[in-house]
Amino acid sequence: MSALDELYRQVILDHYRSPRHRGSLKGPHIHAEGLNPSCGDEFSIDLIINDGVIADVATQGQGCSISQASGSMMTEAIIGHTPDEARALTDTFKRMMGIEEGESPLDPEKPGSVLGDLEALQGVKKFPVRIKCADLPWTTLADALDRSDA
């Protein structure tokens, strides 16, 4: 596969074109917004945390396929999980992308990674200027979780 085809995998295009959990939430929720001023990509997230788990999530945004697909995949990965699990997933994701130091969860010696579809975003690593695109939803999520007391 060429680097381009590896970047724009089917699953990424699918999330870009049919983003999951789109919209906003009614009732009490946590809201956070993220922006990449250099490219203008926007992402916002609404979270409802009930009984210590992320009960519902909705996102809005506009931007490139990488930022929007990353956000869509993220919603599927965090719903039903605790805020701590979501934080851990954020770290795992950032390590996979080389944004944070640490052992990559995709080490072949360590089977059973937890990232699922998100692994498709590895192709972005060959395009360093686009890594911040993939990261935007996660930074926004971290901001939202910081606002919750959970």
């Binding site: 085809d5 203008g40 990509d41």
Partner: protein
């Protein structure tokens, strides 16, 4: 075809490969590449003439001063100014516009006065006026674009009254390629005695410019967009405007005398050039002007018309592609913004980059215009004297590949 292919060998960077393909540099509206003549001029200045300008009593300093002031004279004659003293060196179009907004606007505008802009302005011709508005309470009024991406001047006469003190507009949009309606806006401004400021960042590099014909009060431009170095640009002003304008920056070089509490300014243009200027950069700009004059600005313009016309024609054959800009290549500049199906501009740029083609993606520092067009971002190809029809063909092939990558039929 005004064949300028032979010039390409003057630009070392055009020999580079990008991602394994020959570089097709289609981002000259952002900054242009530099010919060896400019690189040599800068290098030679540092190797043989470097000293600070104006104050030195030794021969080397006087050579440096001659080189610097010589560049000013070249820039003056390039735009047919009345003389070198009408040229103020600055860091570029942005700094020049800030200078006008602060040095002229802040001192001469007051609450209720109006500044007329167009919706297609670069942020450099928007934000400085907003800053002045904060201090003075002036009002900003925008002319919009019509359905053909031309500045809509139909409501201009209704807008004109004695409140209008400044009309400031771009000679050419860096997004749509729209040409500013110079004649209409200058006449309108004159009818109410308003100041005319032309942002020539995309105009001066691309077409013959004569400030006597233009009849504006100020014209600003950037060296790096016309084959020169970064960090140098110019503001041309009518002598009486430059006289009445206050400096926006104070410091060395710009004074006649400094007391403890008051100072007197040096004569124009030096009163606007506080601090050590970008000397080598000015010399480089002088060399860029020499280069453009040797080629001939008519040929530069004709070449760009041809290439832009060809690009518009070829892009029309790419399915689901929308060009945001006038269709007639004779009535527009060579900045061509477009969108392609549901593929985001950044993704287009990434695919093209893999093909060795450099285009810009984003809001191009013109957010009010992009909002007006209802697009969050566009991809933009822009052309200059060194671009070829062949590069346009490669652009089209790259866009067809973007369709393939995004699962759309080619």
């Amino acid at each position: 075809m005004t064949d300028l292919r032979h010039l390409r060998s003057d630009f070392p960077i055009l020999g580079r490969e990008m991602n394994g393909r020959p570089l097709a540099y289609l981002d000259s509206a952002a900054t242009t590449q530099k010919p060896i003549q400019v690189l040599d001029a800068v290098d030679d200045f540092y190797r043989t003439k470097n000293a600070n300008v104006h104050r030195g009593a030794y021969a080397l300093s006087s050579e440096a001063t001659d080189a610097f002031e010589g560049a000013r004279a070249k820039v003056a004659s390039f735009i047919n100014a009345g003389g070198p003293n009408e040229i103020v060196f600055s860091r570029g179009a942005t700094t020049s516009l800030n200078h006008i907004a602060y040095g002229w606007g802040l001192n001469r505008l007051s609450e209720g006065d109006r500044v007329v802009l167009t919706i297609m302005e670069h942020h450099a011709n928007v934000v400085p006026w907003q800053l002045v508005a904060r201090h003075t309470g002036i009002e900003l009024v925008y002319l919009t674009l019509d359905d053909h991406y031309e500045v809509d001047i139909s409501g201009l006469s209704d807008l004109l009254d004695e409140r209008v003190k400044v009309v400031a507009f771009s000679g050419m949009s860096n997004v749509t390629g729209t040409l500013g309606p110079v004649r209409a806006l200058v006449d309108a401004a004159r009818s109410v005695g308003a100041l005319v400021v032309v942002d020539g960042a995309q105009l001066v590099p691309h077409a013959p410019t004569d400030v006597q014909d233009l009849d504006a009060d100020f014209l600003v431009f950037s060296g790096h967009k016309m084959l020169g170095p970064t960090g140098i640009g110019a503001m041309w002003g009518k002598p009486e405007r430059l006289e009445e304008m206050e400096p926006a920056e104070g410091g060395g070089e710009m004074i006649a005398d400094v007391g403890l509490y008051e100072s007197r300014w040096a004569p124009v243009p030096h009163k606007f050039e506080a601090g050590t200027p970008p000397i080598a950069q000015a010399v480089g700009l002088g060399a860029a002007v020499d280069y453009l004059e040797a080629v001939g600005m008519e040929r530069v313009r004709d070449h760009e018309h041809e290439i832009t016309g060809y690009a518009l024609k070829r892009l029309a054959d790419v399915p689901d592609l929308t060009v945001y800009g006038p269709g007639d290549p004779e009535r527009r500049g060579g900045a061509v913004s477009f969108s392609l199906a549901d593929i985001h501009a950044h993704d287009i740029a990434t695919v093209l980059d893999e093909h060795g083609i450099a285009v810009r993606a984003g809001h191009h520092c013109a957010k009010p215009l992009l909002r007006h067009l209802h697009v969050p971002a566009t991809a933009r190809a822009s052309f200059y004297l060194y671009n070829t029809l062949d590069e346009v063909d490669r652009l089209v092939d790259g866009l067809l590949d973007a369709r393939r990558v995004f699962g759309l039929n080619a």
